[in-house]
Symmetry: C2
Subunit: 364 residues, 2 copies
């Protein structure tokens, strides 16, 4: 951290009681995955409560669970439902009811602190935006996820697809929100931010990127942000910075490219080891080592993307998550809520040097 | 191929004699790598000739080689030279002289058909553009490379960094040039083209991408291009299409992200297998299998990116290429020249349905 001024302190004390609302019907597997995950999560988090949302039938097994409230919803947003269907037709979807549970005025039960769904991303963002609205001064909510890096940690990348065209101001807000997320979830007080570009030099990139770099440098000089400078695609895996900021188009492409490459390489390894009896014998010897490798890069271990910039915490689990992966998403939401991510985002966005963004014209 | 009309025939007969000009000083290793590669290439290609460019000292070992012309150049563009230095100060660089060897009026020796350099990409593109100029109707040259896919083949991706801001017309030209490249180098007559986007639906993406999709669909309907539709990042590795088109910013990010991820995963595997005596024993058993895997995804095997849209064929080798990798780049350039890539690009660009691009204002 080379800034002359210190970054702002983070005086927020952790919440002792956390309630998560869970869309139990979302994802490829629905309650078959979400319920066991919720049960395991409850067992491991004695200070957590859950609001489970789904059809009465689906939730029946959870009727006698401790620290659990059941809330029925008659509809389910499928993985293929267009945004309009999720938004306008399925008004009693488990997704929507789970998100609405974050609002303080929602019935007699206290509001939940964070919501988790494995439902389709576009619908989740749209419904969350509609139900919760965006934070003041936030034009565009963003989606942040983590990718493993060589340092043994994770690089947080945002935006991952919520916004295809971004202004420099949006990119600055993504940086601020990403910093709030990393400080809340990973406990890093002054996470470093890199601006994804096609070269490390400040003169590289499009006009939008160059101007974003100026805004980020100004925020750094004002002591609001630990801005490292430009980074390139490979820096995500080097762990050069804690956070990498990019527009949603680029973020989505790099995420899907990475998933595609990792999956191809893993299949190639499998194919080579199952080629013939001899290679299968080698596989037997190599299995413990390969399993260790697999665990190390297992995407289930860091499942749970954050929707940032909304008046409520929403986490998105991978649609194909199994119970273990879904439990990790619950854990991430729990950590975020416990460490007051929402307040951290608000604090950062309200800070003077970052109040340059336009009105939240798209919030409605 | 679902188009009603057939694609244009490719009546170009292969060239029997091919001459490559080689910047022997470029790359991280210079002549120590390029000369052995050239020698091996000559041995394997009895109908090829080389024009070797470099300092007199460096080229001395090649003095008695068959089918080889030596041409001295007094300067070298380093990997760190800014474009301006390569362009304006080092006028007698091996890079520039090698590119100039493509011009018919260049001294008494017949013009070379393609040029190969491992020098820095920015400088290579700038010098090539300055010396050769762009083809008529081409605003922006592009850089195309291949990435391995699950089908056992390769996906050609462009642009990879020459152009940060692209218009829909540029993306259409990239598609045409990519199709010419794949048909020349891989022998696929009607290579399929995918437009990189963040969803398969035609309504996804930025305005530029949507409009590019319209142009590509029109070219498909006119029988000029085998346009598949939108593809996503993972489709590169699935091999959904032969060609994936994107702007240079996105292309550069996805290339560097892929390189970074592949390199991290390979290092993780190495780390796990060298962790302790037991894992080292397992490595011994697994070694033949792992080596087979390594060969399968070895980037050296498909080294050699094409600079497309210029009035001459220029191929860029990875700067860190070893002799094997550099020879592959020579081989790609050879295949392209032999199969008349330049004429193929010209034919495609001149075709009526794709003559929609603006004047070549940036050609000078």
């Amino acid at each position: 951290m080379s800034s002359a001024q210190p970054l702002q302190a983070t005086p927020l004390s952790p919440r002792t009681q956390v309630t998560l609302s869970v869309d139990c019907m979302g994802g490829d597997h629905g309650p078959a995955v979400t319920l066991p995950a919720c049960k395991a999560f409850l067992d491991r988090h004695p200070e957590a409560s859950l609001v489970l949302v789904g059809s009465a039938d689906a939730l029946a097994p959870a009727a006698a669970w401790p620290r659990t409230t059941l809330r029925t919803a008659t509809e389910v947003v499928t993985m293929y439902d267009p945004v309009e269907v999720a938004l306008r037709r399925k008004r009693d979807s488990s997704m929507r009811v789970a998100i609405a549970a974050l609002k303080a005025d929602d019935g007699g039960v206290p509001a939940a602190h964070a919501c988790v769904s494995a439902g389709n991303t576009g619908a989740l963002m749209a419904v969350a935006r509609y139900v919760l609205k965006t934070l003041e001064d936030i034009d565009r909510p963003a989606i942040a996820t983590v990718m493993p890096n060589r340092k043994g940690g994770f690089t947080t990348v945002l935006d991952l697809g919520a916004n295809v065209d971004c202004t420099p101001e949006h990119l600055l807000q993504f940086a601020e929100m990403g910093a709030a997320l990393v400080s809340a979830v990973s406990g890093i007080d002054e996470p470093s931010v890199g601006l994804l570009n096609i070269g490390e030099e400040a003169i590289k990139g499009s006009e939008t990127i160059k101007r974003a770099g100026e805004l980020l440098r100004a925020a750094h000089q004002a002591g609001q942000l630990n801005f490292h400078g430009n980074v390139e695609g490979n820096d995500i895996f080097l762990g050069t910075t804690d956070i990498v900021v990019c527009d949603g188009f680029v973020g989505n492409v790099l995420l899907k490219t990475s998933e595609g490459l990792a999956s191809m390489l893993s299949d190639f390894i499998k194919q080579e080891f199952t080629r013939n009896p001899l290679t299968k014998l080698a596989a037997l010897a190599a299995m413990p080592v390969l399993n260790r490798f697999k665990r190390r890069v297992d995407p289930r271990g860091y499942n749970g993307a954050a929707l940032l910039g909304l008046r409520g915490l929403v986490f998105k689990s991978h649609g194909s998550a199994d119970a273990y992966a879904f439990e990790q998403a619950l854990g991430r939401a729990y950590d975020a809520a416990r460490n007051r991510l929402l307040e951290r985002v608000q604090d950062r966005i309200a800070a003077p040097s970052t109040g340059t963004a336009g009105p939240s014209a798209l919030a409605a």
